[in-house]
Subunit: 645 residues, 2 copies
């Protein structure tokens, strides 16, 4: 109770330390807090941090920003959890030096104060280096001498003495902030990834034929050429027969209908089995290997529901709900029914075995070589299960990443991210106007969510054929793609239908007509167009420019046209500066003045900047704050790297 | 782990539950939180609360406000601590009813669902009242009957059934929010008080004579006439001799100088002793009694420092700092020196005895009959000591209130309030312009501080003769007074000098020339003027109008003049509505249009409102949104009660 320092208002801090923040290897953790004490003394503090597998705490000082607000930070170097804490104390030696300085400047005689300082110098002799000890001994002698007052006060004020006090702080009665604070560190792909989704059963080159993993292997060069580094497959498991869905989500399937891959489980097995027509486990392992040779990781769908034919239904009937008439409860959101799948009852008394089994599925595929899971509808399964399962997987396989497919209310999406999901789908799909996009980017960038919620922007998915795309032309498809890939460091697209601008909707719905979810498609994988050219170029530029490997670095650049959006992205060091300019009007050439965010760039008006368009190769020199831009629907964007002239 | 509900973002919550919020008896505690769960089921929740001395928890339901945000509350009835917590669960019976309703509206056949409902009805039979049980038995029979389908579905959807489900909730796998949340409840005076400060040694009617408690007794009728309910005295203890301050803070006192009362302690005793010239303990008790007869409470100064002659210095040398030359360390903030007082060293190894002794001072005076302490410079003493001491006092004397005299940085002032101070001095003293006042009121009203920081507005104190008052005329003094008393439910003034507009400053400083802090004054206590008339009237109006008994109910009413400020204050029920209008220009008559805050008043434009000026008795009827007001410096305000015509 001799402590006098108060530490509070720590940020980042998620729900009082209930949840961890997230970083990738090499990123800084910047911390602010309020630190204060009674009186007028000099305070000092530090951040102590250590990786969970290290024994010793490291520390890094915090400094006063303004009125009682202190800041500091550290950099995370390894994957896994780091613990960190904030420690503060009334610094008696620094206070002594501060006070004696004020008195000396006020021409007060400080003989007694010099002697008073000995109590801080003498104990240091045991701690410091030899040269420092030599210096301290000299100062101690001066302080005690009656004849060297002038030299004594010079040394009392010396930077060298201050530096020794700061290097060997006397942390008397230190206060440690009492909440447990943690940061989880992922590999870089958690923050920077380019996803390509396609249905492996549509991978065959032969019309109407069920694709195989072998067919997929042959597509890897194409995916690599486009520049993606994650390929995500809808579920690859056996598909149920009972209540199988027909084309266009028909409740009755015809004999040759293949069903929705999300109706997992059949006589051939469940979540750890492979749909026989796709191939064998060996084929799958081979595909993972071929993909890796192209620097592509396979992401797998983890969809926790069962077709009525799933082996679990017989083996673990206690995991499902049963109705009074003896039938099993299928999935529903009344009045809607999803008869081809059964939900798992997380309230089952057998929850412990259930959790273990569900975890074992993840562990099985991790062992096979999968490191990325796209989790289907995680918001309809117990959040506490996710917290536990993700943590368990990462303990053994720290490279594993989880993308939460939850298109739902903001708090629900944030809650999942706090529980441990590495990435999350977002509302980008429905943010269409310039104003909506700017607001959304500022909202996600400034919210505390930027500490744990990593967006993944998708212009479309097999489930979502958004209204804006349903009548879109190639210009619109290009700009929606371009913005997803440059606003967000993580982005993805649902494959061939986007490149080939296939967008016929189910009448009045945001779904695809004759959706690939319910049938096999055959695509001309050799086809190339302006869209594929663009994808290839943008993915290449993303790899070369760290400014595009972060999401929360969005800075709006005002443009005097409601269809032209512009934004600056900067890497952490601010040496890589990318300015994107997009004409969101897919039908008209538009021109307007754009205001350069000069203060973010740290240059005055008049300073010449080389605007290097990385798409076209064109170069311009801009010297003014306001500059005219003009874009046609044929190539509706600039992607400028701002370079020194 | 079968729980599925997440509760987070609870407000109010101070530093993750580290500190309590504050209320006075009868006030509501309104709570919001985010509550959500996986899936689409119906959630329900409640706030559980109990007074620390009660055994059983009471509960009050929370309801959904919007997207995952829930709200509820309870009212505190007794002084002391209440604990409260938030509990939430997936409500299976309500979900069943919600789902069956959707299916019925979709014309689905729900026989099986009716039978499914029995699991929720049957267990209720044991809990409900007899009439409810009779009803439930009827419904159970209907659900099982094959011939009464129509009646069965009617009852399945019935409000009565829903009501029973809500009255007897089935809190399966409930989640309880894991932070400890508390509210401390004070008596009303914590929130609503009118302070009058004067120096008892200046209470004599004889020029130059040292006043006594007996003299003070004679002044109580005057204080009561003015309408104050707290009289605060600077310290009443013996005053030190060594380094005693002379007039105008001179470092050397003349033989007849009385010194600063804040230099506590002398040969006659310390903090539990009374300055002999003021009287005896019996005199003091008598004064407390006389004051009480006038509905006035005496507030005492608790100033934790010692003159060099304080008995503690000899008895407990370990509580002070000693210099290498054997002298004691006086108070200083280098280069400034305060030689007449010694600070207490809260870092002493003997801190336990120190804390006990300091607490015993409070307990001593509480026992004498004091219930209010004005604490001198609490921000230069250990904050953890305050937290402990205030709590200890309140355990035994729950009526006790503490006013923190800390005019310092915002975080420091807030930290003290969190530690338990009942009221706090504020920046009102330096908020001079209309814009500054509106901003300050909105800042303190909207900040989380409104849960624990209770402002006390003072236009002046013996320490502060603010620049704005130094050249002020009576109009300015009236408006500064008026705003303190109507903006804040707690306010105070430093006595006669304010009424008599005595404001000669120390050159260039915000201090009084020939300050009463260092000498005895003699005041003509019989003198009355427009200021005393005003004080009398305003204090009366404050007592009669609950809208003026709250501070965080400030609503700015726009006025088209930069010198006229107007604000609405409403009581909790919004039946008492006060509109204050102040001309802050002390030299000129000013008129302008004022916009009535109609939405806060809940009336449409055109609705006639009777504007009853409680100062002058004048009445006007306003029907428009914008109304013209005009005020002269002679009477620079309206204090309207808004009444029904």
């Amino acid at each position: 109770m001799q402590s006098r320092v108060i530490i509070e208002n720590v940020s980042p801090e998620i729900d009082g330390g209930r949840h961890f923040i997230k970083r990738i290897v090499g990123q800084p953790v910047n911390i602010q807090c309020v630190m204060l004490a009674d009186g007028h003394e000099v305070l000092a503090g530090e951040i102590s941090f250590k990786h969970e597998k290290e024994k010793n705490w490291k520390s890094s000082p915090i400094g006063l920003l303004q009125n009682d607000i202190w800041a500091g930070g550290f950099r995370v170097e390894k994957q896994g959890f780091y613990d960190y804490k904030i420690v503060g104390w009334v610094d008696a030696p620094l206070t002594w030096q501060h006070n004696i300085e004020r008195k000396i400047k006020d021409n007060q005689h400080v003989n007694v104060e010099l002697l008073d300082g000995l109590q801080y110098l003498t104990p240091l002799l045991k701690q410091v280096t030899k040269p420092e000890a030599k210096y301290l001994e000299k100062v101690i002698a001066l302080f005690q001498s009656e004849n060297d007052y002038k030299d004594a006060i010079n040394e009392a004020l010396s930077y060298q003495l201050e530096s020794i006090f700061k290097t060997y702080p006397q942390k008397t009665f230190a206060t440690t902030y009492d909440k447990k604070l943690r940061v989880y560190v992922d590999r870089q792909k958690a923050m920077f990834s380019s996803w390509y989704e396609f249905f492996p059963r549509s991978a065959s080159k032969q019309i109407g034929k069920h694709g195989t993993f072998k067919d997929c292997e042959e597509l890897m060069p194409r995916v690599a050429e486009l520049g993606f580094d994650v390929v995500y497959f809808p579920p690859i498991h056996p598909i149920g027969i009972d209540h199988r869905k027909g084309k266009n989500n028909a409740t009755t399937a015809l004999p040759d209908d293949v069903g929705s891959p999300w109706a997992i489980g059949g006589t051939e097995g469940g979540h750890t089995d492979i749909h026989p027509q796709l191939g064998t486990l060996e084929d799958f392992k081979s595909l993972i290997k071929v993909a890796a040779e192209h620097n592509i990781e396979l992401a797998m769908d983890y969809a926790l529901q069962c077709s009525p034919n799933h082996p679990y239904v017989k083996k673990y009937p206690q995991w499902f709900k049963w109705r009074p008439d003896g039938t099993v409860q299928y999935a529903e959101n009344p009045p809607k029914k999803y008869q081809d799948i059964l939900p798992i009852n997380f309230e089952t008394e057998d929850w412990k075995n259930l959790w273990d089994e569900l975890l074992s599925i993840l562990m099985y595929w991790c062992n096979v070589g999968i490191k990325i899971f796209r989790v289907d509808n995680p918001h309809t399964k117990s959040f506490y299960f996710w917290e536990w399962a993700i943590n368990e997987v990462k303990k053994k396989y720290p490279d594993t990443l989880f993308l939460a497919e939850a298109f739902t209310r903001p708090h629900v999406m944030h809650s999942l991210a706090k529980m441990g999901f590495s990435q999350s789908y977002t509302y980008y799909t429905w943010r269409n106007t310039k104003a909506e996009l700017i607001q959304y980017m500022q909202e996600i960038s400034n919210d505390i969510g930027n500490q744990y919620f990593r967006p993944n922007f998708w212009p479309n998915t097999p489930d979502i054929n958004p209204y804006i795309l349903q009548n879109g032309n190639q210009s619109l498809y290009m700009s929606r793609y371009f913005m997803a890939a440059t606003l967000s460091s993580n982005y993805g697209m649902y494959g061939p239908v986007y490149e080939f601008i296939i967008h016929e909707p189910m009448q009045g719905k945001e779904e695809y007509y004759y959706s690939e979810k319910y049938e096999i498609k055959t695509w001309d994988w050799n086809y190339r167009n302006r869209m594929t050219d663009l994808i290839k170029r943008v993915n290449q530029i993303r790899k070369e420019n760290p400014a595009l490997q972060l999401t929360y670095n969005f800075i709006n650049a005002p443009v005097q046209d409601e269809y032209i959006i512009a934004y600056l992205k900067q890497d952490e060091s601010k040496t890589n500066n990318i300015l994107c300019v997009v004409n969101m009007d897919p039908y008209n050439r538009r021109g307007a003045n754009l205001q350069m965010p000069l203060s973010a760039l740290g240059v005055p008006e008049g300073y010449p900047l080389l605007m290097h368009d990385l798409i076209t190769g064109a170069k311009y020199i801009w010297t003014k704050e306001w500059n005219y831009v003009e874009l046609s629907p044929e190539l509706p964007f600039h992607l400028f790297r701002i370079e020194r002239v």
